[in-house]
Amino acid sequence: MNIFLLLQMAADAGPDRVGLVCDGRRWTYGELAAAARGAADVITGAGCTHVALLDESSAAAPIALFGAALAGVPYVPLNYRLADEDLGALLARVAPACVIGDVARAERLNADGGHKLFTREAFLEAAEAAAEGASGEEREGEGIAAQIFTSGTTAAPKAALLRHSNLLGYILGTVDFMSADEDDAQLVCVPPYHIAGISALMSSIYSMRRIVMLPAFEPDEWLRLAADEKVSNAFVVPTMLARIIERMEAGVEADLSSLQSIAYGGGRMPPELIERALALFPETNFTNAYGLTETSSTIALLGPEDHRTAFASSDPAVRARLGSVGRPLPTIELEIRDEDGKVLPAGERGEIYVRGEQVSGEYRERSALDAEGWFPTRDAGWLDADGYLFLAGRADDVIVRGGENISPGEIEDVLDSHPAIAESVAVGVPSVEWGEAVGIAVVIRPGHERPSDDELKALIKDRLRSSRVPERIAVVDELPYNEMGKLLRRQVRAMFQDS
């Protein structure tokens, strides 16, 4: 099995159809497949163990992804935002690699790695030059299509491996071949080193939806491209959506009448943000996607109908689904388990386990799958009576107070219901008496008075119980998020350690 098949089929079915628009150039599926075949020969000739992309999104990303696939070498998109020391360590772990992109930085950080260096332009030129007369030979290698380094919050980043069979299982199970209309276009603005950046390329190509690539997210440019290219579909992380809406409300004009669907994921969507978006885009279909690197992207989704039903409902349980990640894909199995591995019924919080073809759960160092093939996600969550999945933070984020497990999510949900609180986070803080206790950081909504500590404590005590009452309360201007919209809880914890 080889994911190159996806591009080959698109090129066979519509060789002259435009598949990618990037930096003013329009690539047909035929040209993309030819360049990927050329890239495969370049990669094979270089004799490297990995193909590392150290660059923003460009045509080089899909050509390197599919070229590496054909050559049987793992594609490793690296996070160019990492600090020198961290990036240098990752470069050493993939040496010797074909490094595409910022060659000066790769040379400076890992000079003795034996890497073959290509600027973006040099790589594209070499791939296109080798396209004619390319062998097109499919090499199996280790069967690994992509290797993605996790962000590594506590230890060194883990090298998550996605096999051709995982990625093909995901695409063939969720995307109909050539199902897009010829006018459909997908705006891709997530970084190439994120799993969503890879799955967006594959699902767009297999459905034959033209990719409109934004090299790095910027809200005004996103709006301009969406209007100029008559984009029909887009994926954003919540922080991107917030910035797009801000610019629109600030008067930046863009004709988004072609925009049929917006999918979002990658971090928690604040309820008031999605409600603002639903009001601002009444004709647009919203889909919330939940997935992990180790699961080849989406494993649960809240579709457009779910959004509309929840938004329009006065039933609190139905309305609450706007805060869920929807239902598991029909192609995977999902369970909530307690610490002893016992499967929990609806309504009870535990760790999310998944199993299916798309689920890799495999790292370069070890596989995290259990004997029956289940992957423990380390995400905490619960299912409601109708099978909607609600996330409750990382299992590692659980606050252990005097032996009692407290999920930050339940405290945050109560705090967020206070009219003066825009956002909140609960973390474990050191406590002499309890080992760990609850600390909260809150952002006050503009124009509101700061609620007193006593008022917040009383709110938690009344709605939950006394063990959940925060020992430490901090008011901050904003919460720390990474560029993918993930809340950096460790930074909040560090804030309480220092003071």
């Binding site: 089929m9 066979d12 967006a200 579909n233 999918a263 889909t287 992207s297 989704l301």
Partner: protein
Amino acid sequence: MKPGTKLKSAVCDTEVMVIRGSDASVECGGAPMVDEKPAEPGALDDAFAEGTAMGKRYVDEAGSVELLCVKAGKGSLAIDGVILKTKDAKSLPSSD
């Protein structure tokens, strides 16, 4: 048949990739599928001439064999003379 194996029809343009395999021998257009196309295509059996569609997945009744059609043709896919059914992809909103 190992997953990833590509098979070609001996009587039409159909090509498939094995997604899930067994020891069964797959036929197309009434003739066993082959690794390499013959120089001259054989005759298409009218009883197996419904045609294949690119991108469709085909499964047997037991679900032990699954094939992806990567090139369309005039023949029907079958195992032991029983025509394979198409597997409908789940209709999901785009999430990437």
